[in-house]
Structures are given as C-alpha cells and as structure tokens.
C-alpha cells in the first residue's frame, strides 16, 4: 500500500534508515536543543544568575507556548492530510468569548460551559471538513471563510466588546472552579496550560501511533486517490481531522480566556500563522503525508525559546520578525534537502 512508504514519520524498521535520515527527521528537536543552548549562552546575566534558565523564566516560556502549541497539534493533523486550517485563531477568539459570556453573563456552570464551547469548536471544524471533503472546496478557501465566520460570530456573541471575567459565586461571576484552571501554576511551578498542552500532545502522539485512523490519515495525505482506491474512508478521515483541529482551537480559546481573565472577539488574530510556523519548523510537509506531532511540539517550543531570548536581549521587535522569518525559511529549506526514503 502506498501509505507505507509515504509515512516514514510513523516509523519503518530502523535498519532501513540512514543516520542522515534520522537527523533530518528530528531536525526540530535538534534545532530546539541548539536554540536552547544558544539561549543559555546569549542570556543576559544578573548577579551571576543566567536569567534565561531561571525557573520563573522557563515557566513563562512554556506557558506562552501552550496556546499556540495546542492549536499546532490540531494543525499538524490537518497538514498531514495535505490541508490547511486558517480559522483556528478566530475559533480561539470565538471560544474565549463563548466561555466568558456563558459563565459570566448567562451564569452557566463550569462544566456545561466548557463542554458547549468545545462542542462548538468540534462542530465548526467538522462543518469545514464536510465542505472540504464532500463539496470539494480547497481547505484554504473553506477555512478562510471559516475565519471570517468565526470572527463574526465572536463579535455578535460578545456584543463587539471584550467580556471581562470575574470570579465568585454571585451573578455575573464565573465559578471558582474555572479560576482553578487559570491558576498560573500547578504545585507552585508548572503553569496549568502547560499541563493541558503536554496532555494534548502526548495523546496525539499515542493516537497517531496506535490507531488505525492514523494509518488512514497518512494514506490520505500521501496520495488521496490511491487511498480512496484502497478503501480508505477519505471523507470520514477529512471531517474527523478538521473536527479535531476545531476542538483543539476551542480548547486553546478556553485556556486563553482564563489566562487573560477576558474573552475578546479580537483574541487570537494571527495565531493560525504561528501554529503553521510551528508545524513547518517541526518538519511536517505542507504537501501532506509526512510529519509528526513530536516535531510540532519541538517546533512550538523552539519558537517560544527564540521569542523569549530575543525579548530578554531587547532585540528590536522588527528585527525579531526578520529572525523568526529566517528560521522558518531555514526549516523549510532543510526539509527540501531531506532524503526521501
């Protein structure tokens, strides 16, 4: 079957791989290590302390990465089938607004609010999947429209304003259980969003390795026609993948709202591009069929470390953009050099 050769990231027998291939496959992990080491070297120091590796700072780095990371995991799925999802930032905004409005203005409880918001993301994603798979519109176009629709819905739902979240038991207050999610740290050190991101990433890695669905997914991404001919339920795979991506964007939106104590219809503008950048740096091919969630996680962390060390050194924000752009190009260029097994 075609998918076997088209999905090296899921793993072929080790003996068939050259050292070079392995290096390329984990380029983002090596890249992350390199950037991490460079960050330590170039870190500003104060009173003998290397600021970059202080506990506070590392916690800041991983927390700042979490939202984009959660979205990027979903984006990896979509890109693996050769699609793209431009709506994730807007869905994040919609979910942030939804969480705030339901709990603060409609006095809903924690669980029902979160479940409804997640369901909205799931259905939104699934609808985009249906439009792509069944009507046959390119996912770029479908999700471009989805971006506008989600942003419009967020503006309507919020009345065009940021909805502030206060905590307590009274009317117009979100339940304290929601605040727990927003606690910046678990056990005093690890920010809660980081835990959510880690769980999502781990679940996705396992899912891609053990499920039959994953084989179908790589098959669709590798060669859709061949996959269809060999009996892969292409439509179902596509709808499921976009649904997962919408669900995760929605989850990121909930995290976003708690982190910032507000749901604003303007939240998440441009996040789709950061997520795509993380996926690309992670070595997933935009043509589909090749790539891994582990790479994406490393890619997201790499961007986070890069952001942090540039900021700690007070590099001009315009120069920061240039550097990040060059890193993305470099990652993509390395992919071109990668030997196809």
């Amino acid at each position: 079957m075609t998918d076997v050769q088209d999905r090296p990231a899921v793993g072929a027998p080790a003996g068939q791989r050259s050292v070079a291939a392995t290096l390329f496959r984990f380029q983002s992990v090596f890249g992350l290590i390199a950037v991490f080491v460079a960050a330590i070297i170039f870190s500003p120091r104060k009173n003998g302390e290397i600021l970059f590796i202080s506990a506070d700072n590392l916690a800041n780095v991983v927390r700042a990465v979490s939202e984009i990371g959660i979205i990027a995991v979903g984006m990896t799925f979509v890109i693996l089938i050769g699609g793209i999802d431009l709506s994730v930032g807007a869905v994040l905004g919609l979910a942030a607004v939804g969480s705030a409005v339901l709990m603060v203005e409609n006095d809903w409880g924690f669980l029902p609010s979160v479940v409804l918001v997640l369901a909205i993301g799931l259905v939104f994603g699934a609808l985009q999947g249906i439009a792509t798979a069944m009507i046959g519109i390119q996912s770029f176009i479908v999700t471009l429209a989805g971006l506008q629709i989600a942003r419009g819905l967020a503006r309507i739902w919020s009345g065009g304003q940021g909805v502030a979240i206060a905590y307590g038991n009274g009317p117009n207050e979100a339940p304290a259980s929601f605040a727990l999610l927003g606690e910046r740290t678990f056990g005093g050190l690890v920010p809660i969003p980081v835990i959510i991101f880690a769980v999502v990433a781990a679940a996705a890695v396992v899912f891609l390795r053990v499920s039959a669905f994953a084989r179908h997914l790589y098959a669709v991404g590798g060669n859709e026609k061949a996959a269809r001919l060999s009996g892969v339920p292409v439509v179902r795979v596509k709808v499921a993948v976009f649904a997962i991506c919408g669900l995760l964007a929605s989850l990121a939106g909930i995290v976003h709202a708690v982190q910032l104590n507000q749901g604003s219809p303007n939240d998440g503008i441009g996040y789709e591009l950061d997520a795509i950048a993380a996926v690309v740096i992670g070595g997933t091919s935009l043509a589909g069929g090749r790539g891994s969630v582990a790479g994406t996680v490393a890619g997201a962390l790499l961007l986070g470390v890069l952001n942090n060390i540039l900021a700690l050194n007070n590099i001009d924000s315009n120069i920061q953009l240039l550097i990040k752009g060059l890193v993305i190009v470099a990652a993509a260029a390395l992919q071109r050099l990668r030997p196809t097994s």
Binding site: A55, L58, N60
Partner: protein
C-alpha cells in the same frame, strides 16, 4: 526507532517543564510595593522597560519616540522597548520578560485593561514602580496613571460640531474606531453628550473604520452612496478622517462637507498637518504622555519622590488658526 519516539516527544516537553522546576529564585519584594525602593539617586543607572501595545499605529509609535527623546536628556536612563502587536498574550509575556530582566521601572501602555492587570500587579508587587500610559489597568496595583480623557475629547468634538460647524443643524456621520476598544466607546459616549446642545444636529449613520485610513475610506465610499446629504464627518481618529476625505474627493463631494478627527499627532502624516493643509476642519489633541512618563520616572528614580496616582492631560482644539503654530511647538527641531 519506534520505541524512541514517545520518550523523545515527552522529553521535548518535559525538558523545559522540569528545568522550570529546578531552581527557584523568586525575588521577594523588600519594602512596601511600588515605593521608590529602587531609587538610587542621581548616581544610579536605571533600566526602564517600555511595553507598547502596538507600534503599527502612528500614535503609539510617536509615544515610543517621545519617550526615547525625553530619555535622551537623562543620562542615567536606558530605555528598552517591546511591541505587543495588539496581542494581549504577547504583552503579558513582554512584561514577564521585563520582570525576569529585573528592570528598575516599567512603563506600559496596555492593549486592554483586564488581561494586563494581573501581570502589572505582579511587577508592582515585586517592587518595580509602574507607570501606566493612555489605557488603564484595573485595581490600584500601579504607581501612577497618565492619560488623556477620551470622554472629554469626544465631548469637545461634539460641542465643536454642534456650535461651530453646524449652528443651523445638519447631518453628521460618525466613523468609529475598532469595535471593542475602550477609546472607541468613550469617544462615542462623549460625542453623543457633546452634540446634545443642538437638537438640529442629526447623526444619520455610523460605521466602524477600525482606526485605519483605508478602512475609513472604504466605509466612507458606502456612506456617501447611501447618504446624499452629509454635512460633517466625525471620525474617532485622524487617519480615518483622512480616508473619508479621500473617498469624498473621489466623487467630488469633499467641498460639501467638513471633516474632524482626533489625536492631532505632530508628525508630517498627522492630523495637525491635515488641518493646516485644509483637509480637516479640526482635530483634538490626545497627548501621548511620553515626555510626562519620563518626567515621572525621573521623579521616582532620581529624585526619590512620589508621583500623583492619576494625571489627566487636557485636550486642545486644533483648527486652522493655531495648527501651524502648535506643529512648530511640538517639533522644535524642525
């Protein structure tokens, strides 16, 4: 190979998380929070972190420039700048990075109040004096706020339109800023109050131009088609007013109506020049407070003094009678 991947993936996440659990170096705030404990007098060297919401807007770029220029006169100050690009989450990270760098004073112009409140309080609680510019944060965990009064500016603009431009009454269209932005709501609120004095002034339409010149232009294209008689365009900022002017000019109607803006930036592409050159009838200054922020920082760090909790800077009407003079005053070096 198969067996390696999960541990690697996990390791990638865990490495940073675990590293985060290693050493703890929480600085405890020494004396009372926000007091000028960082004041080392005139002999000290100070690093100031300026967190800007977004430099894509000329107003905010000018704020940064004003801070930079004012700080040039204080050799003890080294000012760093960060741009949050309109993203609350990015601005939270920017401030956290400043805290990590152990800056001596924070100046922040928040993108939005609520999301920035917690991190500003964190800085303040660590003993870093915080000067908040233009947009407020909630609570009182900051050292001083310096800003203009958007409601007041809207009111003055409304009065000017009702009394000076349309004493006999007429049709006004309102071009609003970005929906959801506080200044947009406040300028609108003030404007509605300001025109109340003259019941013959009617707001016949409004549209949102998101603070942007090109959006102001395209919204005005539509408003012109829908409304055959427009006497005044009240825009929430100068760039949108300029856009509206261009739209009217494109259909040859620019002489039938008057345009007013807000912000009055003293830059070549700003509102003061537009008034001077006759495209706008008036604009209202919305001070950037950059100079005032550095003066406040000087008071706190070098003079070991205190600053008022709130400092509201008044607006000024810019019309053809004073535009050239004020432009020259604001740009003493030409």
């Amino acid at each position: 190979m198969r067996s390696v991947r999960i541990p690697l993936a996990a390791a990638a996440v865990a490495a940073l998380v675990l590293a985060g659990c290693g050493t703890t170096s929480e600085r405890t705030a020494g004396s009372s929070p926000g007091a000028s404990k960082s004041c080392k007098g005139a002999d000290g060297k100070y690093t100031i972190g300026m967190s800007q919401a977004n430099v894509a807007e000329p107003y905010r770029q000018r704020m940064d420039d004003d801070i930079k220029n004012a700080a040039k006169d204080v050799p003890q100050f080294d000012v760093k700048f960060a741009d949050a690009a309109q993203d609350n989450a990015k601005q939270v990270a920017d401030v956290e990075n400043y805290i990590t760098q152990q800056i001596d004073l924070l100046i922040i112009s928040p993108n939005e109040a609520k999301p920035l409140t917690a991190v500003v309080k964190k800085a303040y609680d660590k003993g870093i004096p915080v000067i908040v510019l233009d947009r407020k944060v909630e609570g009182d965990a900051y050292t001083g706020f310096i800003g203009g009064d958007n409601v007041q500016i809207g009111r003055e603009a409304g009065k000017y339109i009702a009394e000076k431009l349309l004493p006999q009454g007429g049709n006004v269209v309102e071009l609003k800023g970005l929906a959801g932005a506080t200044p947009q709501a406040e300028r609108h609120e003030g404007f509605v109050e300001g025109i109340k004095g003259n019941p013959k002034v009617k707001v016949i339409a409004s549209a949102s131009g998101d603070w942007l010149r090109e959006k102001g232009q395209s919204q005005m294209d539509a408003l012109l088609k829908a409304n055959p008689k427009i006497d005044v365009v009240f825009s929430h900022n100068d760039p949108m007013a300029e856009g509206a002017y261009l739209a009217a000019k494109a259909v040859g109607r620019e002489k039938q109506m008057k345009f007013t803006g807000i912000d009055a930036l003293p830059i070549p592409s700003g509102g003061i020049k537009a008034v001077e050159q006759g495209r706008l009838s008036a604009t209202f200054t919305y001070p950037t407070n950059g100079k005032e922020a550095i003066a406040a920082a000087k008071k706190l760090l070098i003079d070991c003094g205190t600053i008022p909790k709130t400092q509201t800077l008044p607006t000024r009407l810019i019309d053809p009678s004073n535009a050239a003079k004020i432009y020259a005053e604001e740009n003493p070096n030409g």
